[in-house]
């Protein structure tokens, strides 16, 4: 999705000069007037229905949220403008700060852990011929297709006081650690983290597998001929080649971790106490239970901005360098001279 729409026609015209030479020259440096007349104004009719839906049910509500976020508003009486008050509350209110902190903890479980596990397994799989790949892929991807409510019910059952997790602990003589995992003040947040890791690791693995399949096998052969071990091979070939997949895995897992309403609502609702609260939970509660519409809106806007920033940062940090795709770079690459010959 890198090329922007209006340039598509121009690009193709440039690359196929034989068929579109007559218009190609004019399009290259259009004056304002010819530029306007070269636009397809009727094309707006095609775009309009989709944009109407998007505008009315997405863009307009966002605008309203921004507007509310500058008011102290309970949804019934007239709101009073408070400037940036709601935003400073987001970062100073101790409950909301705790919720942001919980989000950071969950980021480790939802994003960092699955990506690392996925990379390790993918690195191991890059070295062998995998039998039954299609079946493994389908099974590993399973947690992704289940409704989060089903996931919550399944894990509540698994982690219950008399559930399978504690049964296993008691069976191996670690019964003293058995607890009501989602109901205990100390274990609730990490337990939710584990559920998140479970939902996401399969996705990461499947993403990385699709990247590994695209790596030229001869690169690995060459690296091995040059005496590179498994670790060197992983850092020199597999990791750099997977850059696009890592980028998308991080974006998907981080946005999931930062939103994360469904899973928490259906497991702990933020409890016990406030040990598992997250921002999206407060957005819901402030908007629909506490009638603090201004603060809920400010929090939602902050959440949105943070997610957008993360996406931009991840994409910038992991974008592909100049040069041909999938060619690893760097002076320490052992297989490079073989590869280029």
């Amino acid at each position: 999705m890198s090329t922007a729409a209006p340039t598509t026609g121009r690009d193709t015209a440039a690359s196929a000069p034989a068929s579109t030479n007559r218009t190609g020259g004019r399009r290259r440096r259009p004056s304002p007037l010819t530029y306007l007349s070269s636009l397809h104004w009727t094309s707006l009719l095609y775009v309009a229905p989709a944009l109407a839906f998007f505008g009315v049910f997405v863009l307009y509500p966002i605008g309203i949220s921004v507007w509310y976020s500058f008011y102290d508003y309970d949804g019934l009486t007239v709101g009073t403008p408070v400037g940036w008050g709601n935003y400073t509350a987001v970062f100073t209110d101790s409950q909301l700060r705790a919720a942001l902190l919980h989000s950071l903890v969950l980021l480790f479980f939802y994003a960092a852990l699955p990506v690392c596990v996925g990379l390790l397994l993918a690195g191991a799989m890059s070295r062998i011929r995998v039998y039954g790949l299609t079946v493994f892929r389908a099974v590993l991807f399973l947690p992704q297709i289940l409704s989060s409510v089903v996931v919550a019910v399944a894990w509540r059952n698994l982690l219950a006081e008399d559930g399978p997790a504690n049964a296993v602990l008691r069976a191996v003589g670690l019964g003293r650690f058995a607890t009501s995992w989602l109901g205990d003040f100390d274990t609730a947040l990490p337990s939710i983290g584990v559920i998140g890791s479970w939902v996401e690791y399969g996705l990461c693995m499947v993403l990385f597998l699709s990247g590994i399949v695209a790596i030229d096998r001869s690169t690995y052969e060459a690296a091995r001929l040059d005496g590179a071990g498994p670790v060197r091979e992983f850092f020199a070939i597999t990791l750099p080649a997977l850059r696009p997949q890592i980028s998308i895995a991080l974006i998907l897992t981080i946005t999931f971790a930062l939103r994360n309403f469904d899973l928490i609502w259906n497991t702990t609702r933020g409890g016990p106490g406030t040990t598992t609260t997250v921002p999206s939970l407060y957005v819901y509660q402030d908007a629909f239970q506490n009638r603090m519409l201004g603060r809920a809106s400010a929090l939602a806007i902050v959440l949105t901005v943070v997610i957008l920033l993360v996406v931009v940062v991840v994409q910038l940090a992991l974008r592909e360098r100049e040069g041909p795709r999938r060619r690893f770079t760097g002076p320490r690459t052992p297989a490079r001279k073989v590869h280029s010959s």
Partner: protein, 269 residues
């Protein structure tokens, strides 16, 4: 150079372990749902399922989910095909801005739209109706749909469209007669992905149809049911969760290849 056989076995063992972990939670609720309600005789029993089915109104919830998901997918695909076609093959005024807005829409947390949506739909007397579920979800599916169809139409050879134009077809005709017939796979994959997202959507249903059980979708029905039954029989709750997961699992058996490629490769694009 060959890799040692032992390494291959070790890696396969890791894969098997990872797969067992992936299915274990689901398998465990299937097992506890079949153990029967407390007090009944031991052995396999489907009492939990019949109890869950009648108490949880899952028949009506499945119908609502099907109706909402099919409507959202069909309308979104039509809107996305039209807009994607224009963005890929014509010089749309403001096209760059439109694409940028849609890209932002891809990662947008719904949380930022729900409160104004609730007030807006209350004003239109649509809260607790199918409209409250369908209209916003079409809009939220539009970014993925349009960008998806746009990247498909951009991959159609220009010569094909040129040839159609020389033959005297209008732009709308070439969409219908030339491009759509070859868009089958792209549209099927998009529909599968959108269907899954809509089927599983929870937050919007929780907020927009809170008090009308007859239009509530399966995730919401399961959430209410398991919340209310938290203190009651775990076998019944487990059975309810299996009932809710079953249609998606069955569809997954047949569509997994398409779904996985749609959710992963589509994202990499």
């Amino acid at each position: 150079m060959r890799i040692a056989r032992s390494e291959s076995i070790a890696t396969h063992a890791l894969l098997v372990l990872a797969s067992v972990v992936a299915v274990f939670p689901l398998a465990s609720i299937v097992v506890s749902s079949l153990q029967g309600v407390t007090g009944s005789s031991s052995g396999l029993s489907f009492t939990a399922y019949s109890t869950a089915w009648t108490q949880g109104r899952f028949g009506s919830a499945l119908l609502s989910s099907a109706l909402v998901s099919v409507t959202v997918v069909v309308v979104t695909v039509v809107l996305a095909a039209l807009a994607g076609y224009a963005l890929a093959t014509m010089r749309v005024p403001g096209g760059k801005v439109i694409v940028a807005l849609l890209l932002v829409g891809l990662v947008l947390p719904y949380e930022v739209t729900v409160l104004p949506l609730y007030e807006m739909l209350t004003g239109w007397h649509l809260i607790d109706t199918y409209g409250a579920l369908i209209l916003p979800q079409i809009a939220l599916s539009v970014p993925l749909g349009v960008l998806w169809m746009r990247s498909f139409f951009a991959s159609v050879p220009v010569e094909l469209l040129e040839a159609a134009r020389i033959d005297g077809t209008s732009r709308l005709q070439s969409l219908r007669l030339v491009v759509l017939p070859i868009a089958g796979p792209a549209i099927t994959t998009l529909s599968t992905v959108l269907f899954l997202f809509t089927w599983n959507e929870f937050l919007l249903a929780l907020i927009l149809v809170p008090d009308n059980p007859s239009v509530q979708t399966v995730p919401l029905a399961l959430s209410f049911f398991s919340g209310a039954a938290r203190s009651s029989d775990p076998a019944v709750t487990a059975a309810a969760a299996v009932l809710v997961a079953l249609p998606v699992l069955l569809a997954y058996v047949f569509l997994q290849r398409r779904l996985i490629s749609g959710l992963t490769e589509g994202a990499v694009k």
